[in-house]
Symmetry: D2
Subunit: 342 residues, 4 copies
């Protein structure tokens, strides 16, 4: 980043002002340290203006290309819908701007590969992909524990991913590409392996799944380290939002996500409440993720999940959707890992 001096307070353009983007604007302005929002971009001009009006010194745009050319933009946070990511990323690359790109990097492996190649052409990393489980305190402890080697080599990873209910637009393949995408990244990150094949099993759908939605699904990921990672994905479980992981190693197991903070005893039952959505379960993880990105960017560094991670996740999810649709086991094909992501 020799070309641009980063000021004490990082000026961020946020692309996309839907639920996620608006929440990131609030986070940057009111929670974390060292950054402010100088531009917001949305194809919906009214929505962009409404968000900008609540922030001192923030300009509203409808076109990312125009926004990123502005003098008061040091970095970009992409929170628009997945299909718009590629264009936003390429615009950021044109100005050599650091980017935090919400997951997915792009909706499919081919477009992810184009982004990968564009970043390589820049000659240095610019992108952090928004796989925020890597910033959840419990997942961080689990990763640290695995790295100590106390438990020995990981053999299996059991994941649970449950939502209260799916939004109306959700399709059977989105259980893989939108939801299991997180476990794809968590598996790669926790185990340090690439995923080589995906099998998707389909129990009889729940009576609470909307018409024709194959929910739940049970996904088995195989890795090049010889490990298995299974994922229960159940997006209409009805009772709460749960993300749990249990890693089984040669000398022991470790589990996160039980979420047992406040325990009550009442009316013949003991227990506690279950978070109802990801903003409750992962609020702190999002804060840490954005703070880590701001801090690294101000130091002139790029850390966290890379474009390669985004590409690999896209390729695995693509194989997963194929396995879902065709039945059985689908192999994952990745290009060779470029030296930039070594």
């Amino acid at each position: 980043m020799a070309e641009r001096a980063i000021p004490a307070t990082l000026r961020v353009a946020v692309i996309g002002t839907g639920r996620m983007g608006a929440d990131h604007v609030r986070r940057i302005q009111s929670v974390i340290s060292g950054a402010r929002v100088s531009a917001v971009v949305d194809v919906d001009a009214e929505r962009a203006k409404a968000v900008a009006a609540r922030v001192d010194g923030c300009t509203a745009y409808t076109d990312p290309v125009v926004a990123l050319a502005a003098a008061d933009v040091d970095a970009v946070l992409v929170a628009s819908p997945g299909p718009a990511h590629e264009a936003a990323l390429l615009a950021a690359f044109a100005h050599d701007l650091p980017v935090l790109c919400e997951k997915p990097l792009t909706p499919d492996a081919a477009s992810a590969l184009r982004v990968l190649e564009a970043e390589q052409a820049l000659g240095h990393r610019r992108v952090q992909v928004g796989f925020m489980r890597r910033y959840d305190a419990e997942y961080v402890k689990l990763k640290a524990l695995l790295e100590t080697g106390q438990l020995g080599r990981p053999l299996m990873l059991h994941n649970r991913h449950r939502n209260v209910a799916s939004p109306p637009f959700f399709t059977s393949s989105m259980l893989i590409s939108d939801s299991v995408a997180h476990e794809v990244d968590a598996t790669r990150w926790l185990l340090g392996h690439e995923i080589t094949a995906v099998t998707v099993l389909r129990p009889t759908p729940s009576v609470n799944a909307p018409d024709a939605l194959l929910d739940p699904q049970f996904v088995v990921l195989e890795t090049d380290g010889g490990a298995l990672s299974d994922v229960e994905i159940f997006v209409n479980c009805g009772f709460g939002y749960q993300v749990q992981a249990e890693v089984v190693c040669e000398r022991g197991t470790a589990r996160v996500g039980d979420g047992h903070g406040l325990v009550t005893h009442m009316a013949g039952r003991w227990g506690g409440t279950i978070a109802q959505d990801f903003t409750e379960r992962f609020a702190d993880a999002y804060d840490r993720e954005i703070q880590a990105w701001v801090d690294a960017t101000r130091r002139g560094e790029v850390t966290g999940p890379s474009t390669w991670d985004g590409y690999a996740a896209a390729a695995v999810c693509e194989a997963g959707v194929r396995a879902l649709e065709e039945g059985g086991r689908a192999e994952v094909a990745l290009v060779e890992r470029p030296a930039l992501y070594g």
Copy 2:
């Protein structure tokens, strides 16, 4: 027990055929090994006959003295109301019969002392007192852990004792003499200390306590080993039956009684059910207690809580009731421990 040969199957007279006595008849006949019920005794002749009619070879009596003189009685289980215990125990001593006496040994220290002296006059132990926590699997593990010395010396014991609701006849002093009596024994047994003083604190009663019942109470027991044992007794807690103990030692703590067997996730909550009464919570402990008594008796031995333990509990509870009624701290006076209970 040189005087009597014990047959392969111990023939037991059960005195008292109320809820507790009838349950022990069922236990001896249908659950445990090595014993059968040959006599039942109740002042209510119809009740005694009804119970006897369900058991092969069982005679109904109304007078314990007559029952214990029968040829087919090898041992006695006393489950009549507390005020009837002294007479039953002395009748058993007259025939030198082994006795399992439900708690309390007797309702007050003076009568307990008379039983203690009568057993000493026999020259050998005959009584096991029914403090069944000593037979609960978790309490047994806790005691075993303390005895390893891993945790160091015990400094404090925190006890919780909660009932859904108290029976109509329950009085404020019965929270001490009937309920806390269990924690008095558990404290003495787990710590291996005698209790030297009792303080009873009285928060404003729960709106769910019947008129004039001081419920909950908070009891602090001091021991001759310099430890403290506090007891929350709450007999109208409304939500379940809970008996929990946490011992705090010089190098760590240990806790029993959480009761977390089956865990559910449903309707925004995780957790499980709470037992609703002691027959559910301590069913296995009762089975083990009676089996242990039968086994020891068939070997010609007396094990388990002794008459001394029954007397000490009576004396501590008596001081507790005094502390409750007069406020403040009441000291416990015990006679010197006879050599028989060394």
Copy 3:
């Protein structure tokens, strides 16, 4: 059982006096109610004599056929090695004796089918198969919860089955036929479904697995009710014996097997100990199983897992071993369910 009057105390012949058989002899003599051991049978005559010598009125035999012809045998407990079960069962059928047969019913589906046909020829059920998870207090609660319908229809069942270390003679296919056999029965019983296909996945074996042993394995069972049941079987996990099950239903989940009785805090860690083998974890389940069999037999009834359950488990395990050896998914073929097991 019109032909034979059952005496007050059931006289049991125990076939096989190895670890399991000897433990059942102890259980019948010293723990449960209503039965005694009148005969023991072992091809090792010295071992049979040694066990018989410790029991009043017990005769030692080497041949089950001779033993079961004795006048003082009312019922049979088969605890010999699996390959000897068929002959023992047929001998029991010859005298129309009730049998508790340790799992497996027989080692393969063909022999199990012969037993099934022989029992049908008798015209009434005589066999209870020793799937003792059905008698574990937590599994019983889980089954009862599922039957209330509160959680809705079961969609998935996640099972964990871990042993500290495998015995020297253990082979890769025994992880299925000997260990997963329990989860096969638990799946059938909890869900009330038959299993239609088995897939076995093989992660890279643990460094602690003996040479050539494929350990752990990950097994996915499909059922005719459209549910999935996955099993982690790991027989050299090193840290303890764990059997856990989590059922995922349309409206919630339920989990058993955490085993969190005594909780300690010490040296920077909280937690508890893990059972080291099945005799510790399932001691109470075995007691309840044998007591239930004795009680039912004395009432002239046959309850518990049937010959059909034993046959179905054998057929599923056979398919599982095929899936393990050939890779991929193996379908399960069952004969039509006879009316006797309706």
Copy 4:
């Protein structure tokens, strides 16, 4: 605060640059939003300079009076030793500056009362006292649950407060005034009651307590709402830092502080690690506390624990030390609550 306009970024003077003060400087600069450190003050000039050198636009001072007179100070964070608090607070009042004052407000009730009177003379609240448990996520949930009324009226509160080891300068009375001070505030806040009497019980000290330190202690607080709050304070427990609270209400109980995030199974044991000090256990609570103070201050408001709360805690702790030293029960005398803190 009509007199002063608060700029977009709050300029904070931090008084005291020891462990706590330095950590707050880091927090304001690098974690939270909307504030920066413009001045640091320490009697140790070198230490103040070293801290100031790491912060852009920060001046080092040795005298709080001089520092608070500077034009670029909008608010004050007092993190100096307790005996220096009164002077710092009065200096802040002289400039009508908002203050976050670390606990204790002052070391005794008499000086706390002087501060209370000085703030009343200002005519409006300026002080937030640093009782940070009110910002811990679990305590916040517990408070919210109590306020729903679901559990009914609180009857008892059981608190555990354990440290690995006490610092060399710790005295027996500091277990009350420094440690139990937190539970004094938590009791007042959670129950909404004032504390009326304190009893301190002293078990035989742990072998790991330094010479003459009375550790552990068991403290019973009585409230004007008729509730009891007991506190186990054990500052040399050896195994970890634990802060737990269980409130017992008329219809149920609720507990926080178990801290069961990451669960491992290894070497015959299940469980997890225990935090080793308060910076680990309460890191997020400190972040939320300072952010809440900055946010309220920028809005021109004063929220959080008040000077009255600081005074009441000082008075209760003073009674507690008296109870410790004299034995028995000490009553708490509070002045009438001024209307300003209504």
